[in-house]
């Protein structure tokens, strides 16, 4: 059947739409005809941990935390780079060793800069 070789796509789309919609429709019909709705302030509450929510959902975070996070991320990634370096330490040429040392130096430089800027000072 070369003329309708794409027919199965159409059928598949139909099945893919019907399959999730049919149970939803059945549930809706059931609710509509048999189940009396019983909403309430507790049932419609946003949180479901049993404790009543207090205050606003909007809270302000200290932007300093963001800098702290970025620094953590950089050194986290650095650690991943250092693991292959440490594993292959005894068998790498001098050039590679110097390359990694320069990479480390750049990072230490960044750390010194961040430190002198007061980024590590949590209470400031």
């Amino acid at each position: 059947m070369p003329s309708n070789s794409y027919l199965f796509l159409l059928i598949f789309t139909g099945v893919a739409v019907t399959f999730p919609l049919a149970p939803l429709a059945l549930a809706w019909l059931w609710r509509h005809f048999f189940q009396p709705p019983k909403p309430g302030p507790n049932k419609n509450a946003t949180y479901e941990c049993g404790i009543e929510a207090t205050g606003e959902a909007r809270v302000q975070f200290k932007s300093q935390y963001y800098i702290y996070c970025i620094i953590f991320l950089i050194f986290d990634v650095e650690a991943i780079f250092l693991i292959p370096f440490a594993v292959a330490f005894t068998s790498i040429p001098v050039g590679a060793f110097i390359g990694v040392m320069i990479f480390l130096l750049l990072l230490v430089e960044g750390l010194v800069w961040a430190w002198s800027k007061g980024c590590m000072n949590w209470t400031a």
Partner: protein
Amino acid sequence: MEATSQIDEGLKNELKTQGIFVISMGELYNWGRRNSLWPLQFGLACCAIEMIAAAASRYDLARFGGEVFRPSPRQADLMIVAGTVTKKMAPQVVRLYNQMPDPKYVIAMGACAISGGPFKQGYNVLKGIDRYIPVDVHIPGCPPKPEALLHAFMELQKKIDGQKLSGPGRAEHLDPARPGEFPVPAFGAHDLEPPANPELFRPPVMERK
């Protein structure tokens, strides 16, 4: 939607021997929901350990369709009150019960959940969760063994199986007059207020002769 079919029992059994099952829609519906009871995943005290054991491989609650412990009340059908309900915890339990969608069922597991148990005299312990929410099955024991929880589960399934879905005497959750939420007790100066839901909790009056 009758839970009991109108068809003759003898004919039904005759057909069953031929491999033909005749059931009503109501029976099918009840069969489906009694075998897919999803408990709310929370434990209050040591009974919860027995509940965990009942859900684990040795006792295997999955045989009864109850292994899907839900961490959200919105997805749960069954609340297993497993353990001591302190007065600090009671409002949360009632609120979680209120947040469960109908139809919902409660198993009060263990001496503490049904009456306060060994801590009944304690100032901080609720003397039974049935003071605030309707309990379907009470299991005594301190703690009840997993077999006892399985027994309670089967009793609950029996109850669901017998529930009518329409007409007078239908299941409670289908009655529009029945409230969907029960009042959450508040922390008062000395005790929870109210100390019990008077519409729900009618303790037997002891007659002394």
